[in-house]
Symmetry: C2
Subunit: 334 residues, 2 copies
DNA sequence: GCCGGTCGTCGAAGCGCTTCGACACTCTCA
DNA sequence: TGAGAGTGTCGAAGCGCTTCGACGACCGGC
């Protein structure tokens, strides 16, 4: 405890050492005797010293802040975003960094601004589109960046994501093993496909390819978020495809509606219809019945993105592309 | 465009003026002739100058960053949080500030750290609980702060929120005007009440008081998020209260389930049961049928919080308590 | 034609930190 | 015993900006 802001000079005086010695104790960049280190640390806590972030950034050219660029757009399922964001913040803290929040509606200007003003050392971008206008800027930026999601042309960038193609395929494989031979994929709202968002498209591709490989019959449909639209989609699907016995749902917001619609349409899960979801674990577990699912490992993706960006900051080489292997958890719905 | 980081000294040289003159052009704190100003601004854009945030913070003792402390806890409806967050970022940018994201799981340490290190100038806290452990810290902090939500003891703090008591009362009034005399409130999940979260409790109090005032019969129930639990709650409620003809739903996640449950239970909205929701506008509009609702003005609350915190930063006096008046939008459900 | 007031600009002193080179020691090993 | 190689610590030079006091130049009033 103390009156007004404590500086490193006061700590140095209190401990009877030079300012630079305090700095080296803090950074560990030079060896300091155990005795001196102890005295300095004691003084730091006695005075309640916290290094001034601005001064540190100015002198060291490192702000210890990373930018998190969020989209906040229609069609994204927000709770998932939030979990990413939370994971990024937590992971960043473990590297002694803080997180500056940028929303995409400031456009590329915001990115340029925080980078040019040295407000942040690095950037993590979420919800990257296939044709993302932020991507060209990132290529020119001296600050390192990591994308969560894949643009169409990821050369020269570092990207992390769940391997959605593998996830789609994994669901098909599971249904095939269970003996289903006519299955469907209910995906994201059509606006998401229109925008060319990578994860939706890649899941569909993985699904289609796996259906071929296993010699099944399969169809893929977009799927909106509201109950009424979901109900119609499911009803029409059942009419069109009487032999359908397996469903893959890749739309977190619609999962509950799909189950409700099946119930109203007299189909029991899993008896009349097997359902596999691609969604966060808690959503799958809370559903009735609990759903067999490929989980979206938001925490892991966020953590990995931060790890990569820190590696780049330290000048270590990182892979261009990191795809996290999907894991299928079998529950009551298949 | 230029090679590596441009400094104010280079701008000054390029424009043929002193460094301090450039600074005054940027800050407007001293009068500068139109001619000089023009030359300086030209040089700035010619060189692509961006002031270094760290240096600026160090010299001016202002980082131009505010902290946004998010809870990220169970029971909170995340999309609403996101809209607050987005509104705060947008509003902050209009005051030329950026937003640092803190999650509450770092506890009060994080708040203390960013304040003590002068990383942020001020704080906005979201989802404040009645008995919030962050509140005592805020009282001692020299940095100004604004709470979104109300703690039990708000003395000496600045708080903003929708006037939830008025919102609850407004719904009752509307139903009373429509001639309903036995009504119910379906609220937040019980865990939210147990935690003593202000907005849930205050809505309930407003509801109860208004029911009394209007001489109606009313009951209030917590309401979980999953379809099955909602279904049971609604079913039991209809059995217990055969005369019930009006429902207030203050639980964004459950709104859709309530409507589905009513449908399954053979009640038509609004014919057999009038429904008023307290939720964001888009949720009310997308429901089937579109719901009469009191909207949660996330954008307005976020904007107001930022305005208040900026006022405090400038040393202007602000009211301790800002309650935004609820607005009821009549739609098809009543 | 001189005095007091703006007005516009400049130079320099920090802000609190990191980091570089220097320097006094203490060990080792020839 | 003395050269060489570490250790542990210090002082000072910035990092890029804001802000204060100073100072000409120019104005109007007497």
């Amino acid at each position: 405890m103390s009156g007004r802001t404590v500086t490193i000079a006061q700590v140095a005086k209190h401990a009877g050492v030079a300012v630079s010695t305090v700095s080296y104790v803090l950074s560990g960049k030079r060896t300091i005797s155990a005795d001196t280190r102890r005295r300095v640390l004691d003084s730091i806590s006695a005075l309640g010293y916290h290094p001034n972030a601005g001064a540190r950034a100015l002198a060291s050219k490192r702000s210890n802040v990373i930018a998190l660029v969020l989209p906040l757009r229609a069609g994204m399922h927000v709770p998932v975003l939030m979990r990413f964001a939370s994971a990024v913040v937590t992971a960043a803290r473990r590297f002694d960094h803080d997180v500056l929040l940028l929303t995409a509606d400031e456009g590329t200007d915001g990115i340029h601004r925080v980078a040019a003003s040295a407000l942040v050392d690095a950037l993590v971008l979420m919800d990257v589109e296939l044709d993302d206008r932020r991507v060209p800027l990132l290529r020119e930026l001296p600050e390192p960046s990591v994308l969560i999601g894949f643009p169409a042309e990821p050369a020269g960038l570092t990207c992390v994501d769940l391997d959605f193609a593998a996830a789609g395929a994994r669901c098909v494989q599971h249904l095939a093993e269970r003996g289903h031979d006519e299955i469907a994929l209910l995906g994201a709202p059509s606006v998401v496909y229109d925008r060319g968002t990578g994860f939706a498209t890649r899941t569909r591709e993985g699904f289609v390819a796996a259906v071929d490989d296993h010699g099944l019959k399969g169809v893929t449909l977009p799927c909106e978020d509201t109950f009424d639209e979901v109900y119609e989609t499911v009803r029409d699907l059942l009419l069109d495809r009487p032999g359908l016995s397996g469903l893959v749902v890749h739309n977190e917001a619609a999962v509950g509606h799909v189950l409700a619609a099946l119930r109203q349409l007299g189909r029991r899960v899993p008896h009349d219809m097997a359902v596999v979801a691609i969604c966060p674990d808690d959503v799958a577990e809370r559903a009735g019945p609990p759903l067999t699912s490929v989980l979206i490992p938001a925490e892991e993706v966020g953590r990995e993105a931060v790890r990569l960006v820190m590696d780049k900051l330290e000048g270590r080489a990182v892979p261009d592309s990191t795809l996290l292997t999907p894991l299928l958890a079998v529950r009551a719905s298949t």
